[in-house]
Amino acid sequence: MRKIGFFGLLSALLLTLTTSCTSSESKISELTIYSGRTEEYIAPYFAIWQRESGIKLNIRYGDSAELAAQILEEGKNSPADLFISQDAGSLGAVAEQGLLTPLPKDVAEGVPAKYIQGNREWVGLTARVRVFAYAPDRVKVLPTSFTDLSKPIYKDQVAIAPTNASFQAFLTAVISNKGLPFAEDWLRKVKANGVKIYPKNSAIVEAIDKGEVSIGLVNHYYVWEVAEALGRPINVKNGYFKANDLGNLINVSGVGILASSDKKAKAEDFINFLTSERIQSRFVSDIHEYSLLENIPIPEDLPPLSDLGAPNIDLEVLKNTKKTQDLLIKVGLL
């Protein structure tokens, strides 16, 4: 009996503890963010904001697509105020269900219009380029187009991450430019060519460094991220396909405010903070991403975006991830 009393007491205690933690409607002293950007690379800027604004940030880290699925599942009951995503697709999926709110004109003023979604439901934060990462000593003939990856010389040497949002964005671009049959054919050929599947970009870069594979489709900044994490130089370089190849797609990370948020004004301030010149230049120097603001220099050791001959990104196109995912399921890559 005494035990039951103890358990009861404990449960009651825990309940009050948890409810007091989560349901505190205390007048805008905190914002809740679902962040698809990895903690290590974005937490420092969150810390700056907390220090300067005095507003606490509750941050839920996860995969962009995973968090998008969670927001879709939560619907109007989502506790999140902001959603930061690694790609346009996840934001598009959430926006399509009417779960993001249009941003006023004075939010993210410096960001060029082409990086803002049509209804202003989300804005771009940084740009990243799709590249092929490769081991320079093992890849003698560099591919000039993503379609080369189904060639016999790359048999069993290519890595992709089909669950990764950036890979899906690239595939979405392929589908919209070349048609669904072309994309399906390419995927099947690549699969037949012994493509290796990894859960994410960083795992691909690690696998190249370890010698498991020689070449992989990733975002440009992972070569730095993995080297920094390992604390040593790695045997992996970035390569670019020929001009205008879809393999050089430029994608954006972005942020939107949830329609269900009751702290929209503060959330807008936060977006202005992230798109300010000060923070944008930090993104460039610290994590090697391209800023969307026009007057901020490009990352060191990287070509200007305009030199990549990258196909123009159209945010409206990249949001059509449903077809992409159905295709990946159909060919058995998901």
Binding site: L10, A65, N77, P162, K196, E206, Q325
Partner: protein, 530 residues
């Protein structure tokens, strides 16, 4: 139920019947409530899956990839079950019959891998052998992770083996092998099948090891579909396939077990322990123990320690302390909820089996194979509609309770069944009502076994990852989520301190479970009744 047969010395027969009926009605109502709660994830899956047109469901189920994945999963389960059963039974039999030095130390070393989550196990092996990947690697890791279940369950069975039969067999000139196959094995079958059931269901639901080793099982596919596609319907269809497969496994296991239930009640003289002291047996066993300790304990601990020492990043002790407290509190809370939920089920199952109780037991067992991601998503869907409990530690603890209810139910029903009917009847004749009997007679006898079952839920909950990621309060980190956030091998150094702390904390309940004097009680923990 023989409630109506209970003679009442004080009240009339009528009032006794009505009292018995009230008791039964309350038990059945509570069972209904618990079953409903357990079915939340499966209900969610049906709801989601059938938002897809039937033709698409068919296409999804019959695409080559799905068949491939079902095959991989089945092969993995068969391989892991066969290996753990073979090795586990041999080790347990050796421990039981062969005179060995340091017996209790070996037992602890054999059971301690229970404290290591499968993803940590896998990380450490990959860190050691970078080319460690693929199906065989997954069999190896899952074998090491689940072996303790079979060892504990078999040991429990061996404790109850009828010693007089062994003596008789020996006097007829049977050799050791013949005695083992003809006398011992048939008697411990029920226990083995209980252990094997846990191994199989765990293998089906594991995500950490298989995903790191690039093996596409159903759980990995479900997780990938969910992670990568915003429409959760495809993932739900595949989840239902997993539910179906686990139902198949549960029923097969029941068949295996029910072939031999003869000695259920024939507990007579136990065997004398340590009856064999031949050198070849001792040397073989000790080498097996040493090898197991090397690959299942020494390797993970060595890798974690070296990573911990070589970690270039400053260790954030505060974050480790917070994560430790969070882990322990939520897991404990989850174990308590599982305990409470398993009471009515355990009461029902400890009585004479009926159609209802068999159905109830199957539902609980099948639920045990649901991967964390499914339970997590179902509770995100329902929880977010309830608002106030969403993303609270309560909902997370509740998820643990649902995920590991089978473990708690098994120990509950096993322990309750150990209470002799006679004792209950005597108490009833003395005028105690059902509740008083429960409190004064049943609880004291059953409590130790139940406590160990709860310990097992606590231990498993501490290691849980996918549901934790989805349901934890925002900003709330457990040791498991911290380890996972440094998921890439390149950052494994940073995960090492968290993994070490988790190992140390989880070793405490594991130690309790493997204490030799407790093994006899822990057995009921492992015995999943059919």
């Amino acid at each position: 139920m023989q409630l109506t047969k209970i003679p009442s010395t004080t009240g009339s027969l009528n009032s006794s019947i009505s009292r018995g009926n009230t008791y039964r009605a309350i038990v059945l109502t509570l069972v209904f409530v618990v079953i409903t709660l357990t079915l939340i994830p499966i209900f969610y899956l049906f709801m989601r899956a059938f938002q897809k047109p039937i033709s698409e469901i068919g296409a999804l189920l019959f695409r080559p990839k799905t068949l491939e994945v079902v095959l991989t999963t089945s092969l993995l389960v068969v391989a892991v079950v066969a290996l753990t059963a073979l090795v586990g039974i041999l080790i347990a039999t050796g421990l039981h019959f062969v005179k060995l030095p340091f017996r209790s130390t070996f037992l602890i070393l054999l059971v301690i891998p229970l404290a290591i989550p499968s993803y940590v196990f896998t990380y450490t092996w990959i860190a050691l052998l970078p080319s460690f990947t693929g199906f065989l690697a997954a069999v190896f890791i899952l074998f090491l992770t689940t072996l303790p279940y079979v060892i504990l369950a078999s040991l429990a069975g061996l404790r109850r083996v009828d010693g007089s039969q062994i003596e008789v067999a020996r006097s007829f000139g049977f050799n050791n092998a013949q005695i083992f196959f003809k006398v011992v094995l048939p008697q411990i079958r029920g226990h083995i099948s209980g252990g094997v059931l846990l191994v199989g269901l765990y293998t089906m639901s594991d995500f950490g090891a298989v995903s790191l080793l690039n093996v596409d099982t159903l759980t990995v596919t479900i997780q990938n579909m969910y992670r990568a596609s915003y429409d959760r319907n495809a993932a739900a269809v595949i989840s239902l396939l997993l539910v179906f497969l686990s139902a198949l496994f549960v029923i097969t296991d029941e068949r295996f077990k029910s072939k031999n239930l003869l000695n259920k009640t024939t507990k007579t003289t136990g065997t004398k322990l340590y009856t064999i002291s031949s050198k070849p047996y001792q040397i073989t066993l000790i080498s097996v123990f040493v090898v197991n300790t090397l690959v299942a304990v020494a390797v993970p601990v060595y890798v974690l320690l070296t990573r911990f020492i070589n970690n270039p990043v400053a260790i954030d002790w505060r974050s480790i302390a917070t994560a430790s407290i969070s882990t322990v509190v939520v897991a404990f809370f989850g174990a308590v909820i599982a305990l409470v939920l398993s009471i009515p089920i355990g009461v029902l199952l400890s009585e004479k089996p009926t159609r209802y109780s068999r159905f109830t037991n199957r539902v609980i067992l099948i639920g045990h194979a649901l991967p964390g991601v499914v339970v997590g998503l179902a509770l995100v869907s329902f929880g977010s509609k309830l608002g106030f409990i969403y993303q609270t530690t309560f909902l997370l603890a509740f998820a643990y309770a649902l995920l590991f209810l089978a473990k708690s139910v098994a120990s509950m029903s096993g322990s309750l069944a150990k209470v002799p009917e006679g004792a209950k009847e005597v108490a009833a004749t003395l005028g105690m009502n059902k509740w008083a009997v429960l409190k004064n007679v049943v609880t004291p006898i059953a409590a130790p076994g139940i406590a160990l079952g709860t310990t097992l839920v606590f231990l498993t909950a501490m290691k849980e990852l996918p549901a934790t990621l989805m349901l934890r309060p925002t900003g709330f980190e457990t040791l498991a989520t911290q380890i996972w956030s440094s998921a890439a091998i390149s950052r494994f150094n940073e995960a090492a301190p968290y993994a070490l702390v988790l190992l140390i904390i989880a070793a405490v309940p594991t130690f309790i479970l493997s204490r030799p004097d407790r093994v006899d009680k822990a057995l009921t923990t492992q015995e999943v009744r059919g």
